[in-house]
Symmetry: none
Subunit: 222 residues, 2 copies
DNA sequence: CGCGCATTCGGTAGTATTACTGAAAAGCTG
DNA sequence: CAGCTTTTCAGTAATACTACCGAATGCGCG
């Protein structure tokens, strides 16, 4: 009751890859990397999203390795279209951003993988093989944003929260009212209120519901 | 400014794999598959979660390929412990279930991949290579539940919320106070309060901060 | 049609949170 | 030591939310 969707090609035949990036230099670099691998074959190159879509429809590659930021039509929109017209082609997005919002958008557009441009040739090949085999591949840096964080390296904190504030935030996010937070930390309710207000100040004027998100982003919940 | 966390081993050296499954037959099958691959080396085998953890600490494998359902200590708890004591070891979970809840639990326990037992040898090897290289790998069937769909159906709702309640929940989770939710939906504050209280009733007596989590679980936020 | 359910709204009361201002003690740093 | 941050706590007032109560409308279903 699963098993439709992309690829799942026969092993034996090489993986047919279509490259899409507006920078020739980048395409050259990638092609150079991929040409050394027997199992991979670069069947075409596109310089923008629209070209990527039409070339993909013509060539029907196993994998479309595509940059997100391109002129005419960006990779996001292109990914959407390819996923519709060519469900057999796995879209693997290549980007310089490890921004969570960005990653989310990309995978929702139907990409089956997201890799960063600073990865090694080995990893790039693995990623291509992965999506071509029918799986999903994500670079280490973007994985946590997908699975809801909890990596181990405590995400560094863009808000500049103090230790105490993190403790309070954690307790609040777990659903405790100020009174119980106070009891848990052995401080007065007023103090908890102070921290709470400082938190709202620091993270932006978000309400209680939103504090959960922040706590989660900071990995305070596990 | 990323790059800590697991693996990211040198290419050249073989990937050291620790197998954990309570069925000898399964272990034998997997080992047979992996032994044919030069880049992979099975360095040990465990028959339950506790054994997997202690063997992992001793052998420090690149990848721990582990079943979820095992006696003594299940794979979920084992994954958590390994992630704490051995951040360098990538946990790749092997399971027969493509149940969304299950997958979520597993990745939140820190697994860097989730594959189904019915996959091909090729895909299993790709998956192992993927997590060993520092990436995240997910089988085709479980990927959609991770990325929040775009492929499959809108996560079914264990709470039995109504359409209107979902709208209200969504607005609350986005951080709006009742007053603004009312304005947005064109209803009175009292009605929003009703919905809010009904929501708390339905999802359990969680507070405002926790409502965010529910909204997220239900995919109301994107 | 009567019943249940979703949706809407009101009253009243109490609790919680926010928005201010102000301040004291502890610790670190130049 | 003076200045800084962190953490602590207080007063006061407004706003928001919770916990109950009850009730009207509309809609589908047996």
């Amino acid at each position: 009751m699963h098993s439709h969707s992309p690829a799942r090609r026969q092993s034996g035949k090489p993986v047919r890859v279509l490259l899409a990036d507006d920078h020739e230099l980048v395409r050259d670099g990638i092609r150079a990397r991929l040409q050394k691998v027997a199992d991979l074959e670069v069947v075409g190159e596109a310089t923008n999203g629209r070209e990527a879509v039409s070339l993909a429809e013509e060539l029907r590659p196993d994998v479309l390795l595509m940059d997100v930021s391109m002129p005419v039509m960006n990779g996001l929109e292109a990914a959407r279209q390819v996923r519709k017209s060519l469900p057999e082609t796995a879209v693997l997005v290549l980007s310089v951003y490890d921004n969570p919002e960005y990653v989310r958008g990309v995978v929702q557009a139907g990409a089956r993988g997201y890799i960063l441009k600073d990865i090694s040739a080995t990893e790039m090949i693995t990623a291509i093989t992965s999506v071509a085999t029918g799986g999903y591949y994500f670079s280490a840096a973007v994985g946590p944003t997908l699975v809801g964080a909890a990596t181990s390296a405590p995400v560094e904190d863009p808000y500049g929260l103090t230790e105490r504030e993190r403790q309070v935030l954690s307790a609040i996010a777990r659903g405790q009212p100020n009174k119980e937070v106070a009891k848990e930390l052995g401080i007065s309710v007023r103090t908890v209120e102070s921290h709470r207000l400082n938190l709202r100040e620091k993270v932006g004027n978000k309400n209680a519901a939103q504090l959960y998100k922040v706590a989660q982003d900071l990995g305070l919940l596990d």
